[in-house]
Symmetry: C2
Subunit: 178 residues, 2 copies
């Protein structure tokens, strides 16, 4: 059911998809869906929340110097998001369709993730490894840059994932270097 | 009519908005809209095409060294996109709703813009000012990073536009530096 909702939301947009269409995609009657979810809003919210909770659970900063932590963050971020292009698309595009309460939860989780990157940048700044005039802005800039890979990367293209991650890591490393 | 369509597409998504709703937003009967546009697809396409044509017309590389060209590109890109957050959102989100012919036109315009940045990176690479192992990837990375400003920047916030552009320019400059 989640997978069907994700596919349809990504293809047509949340507002244009009905519970009836989701049921048809799953291959059940619309009534059967309501045994599992109260409504379409709950489905959207759970997709976005679980995506971010999985992201937070999937990565911890290694016990290492800030530069090594940053490299680990960059490579993990690219890998995790390349595995889930539809969720990335929805997580950005459908924020406007969350209720205010649900939006607050999603924003909180997103901030938790951003805070992890910012903590690395601050530690590196204090250690003299990085020169980042504004760690908050650098956090937003780097996350946008890394997530952008999902908009153009195609499996089987000119460069494989490892090559892409290596080139992005090189740019990130230099962008924050002291 | 364009402004009304843009507002509604950005708020609800292209697929969820009807010509009738656009007419109501303009304050005319639906029939009147068809005097000006053949359909909703044409409206979406023209919004996206005109956005990119304006972007291309609004910026030419200055007659200067690659570093100065790059700085001019960065500052212009941020300014232009911060002025048009709804168009930025739609240009990314509604690509999936273009017909194949319209998609090809939009992709071509987008590539023309990317090519301008890549030309700067290549020139700087040849002059020994930049060390960019893959100019195509660097182009995609930098555009995603810069466009991302529209997702978090709020007028009247902690930093004004000039401060934000200065900090982003600093990161870009370092990211591609030799």
């Amino acid at each position: 059911m989640r997978a069907a909702a994700l596919r349809l939301f990504a293809r047509h947009g949340f507002a244009a998809v009905s519970m009836r269409q989701i049921a048809a995609e799953v291959g059940v009657q619309a009534g059967a869906l309501y045994l599992y979810t109260p409504d379409k809003q709950a489905l959207l919210f759970e997709l976005m929340r679980d995506h971010l909770e999985e992201l937070l659970a999937d990565w911890r900063a290694p016990d290492a110097a800030p530069v090594a932590q940053l490299e680990d963050f960059v490579r993990h971020h690219i890998r995790f998001h390349l595995d889930r292009p539809e969720l990335v698309f929805i997580a950005y595009m459908e924020l406007r369709n969350l209720t205010p309460e649900n939006f607050a939860v999603i924003e909180g989780l997103r901030r938790d993730y951003e805070d992890r990157l910012e903590a690395i940048l601050r530690a590196g700044q204090q250690a003299g490894d990085f020169a980042v005039p504004d760690t908050k802005l650098a956090t937003m800039a780097l996350i946008a840059m890394l997530t952008g890979v999902t908009t153009w990367y195609r499996e089987g293209g000119r460069l494989d994932r490892a090559a892409v991650a290596g080139i992005y890591w090189d740019m990130v490393r230099k962008a924050v270097a002291a």
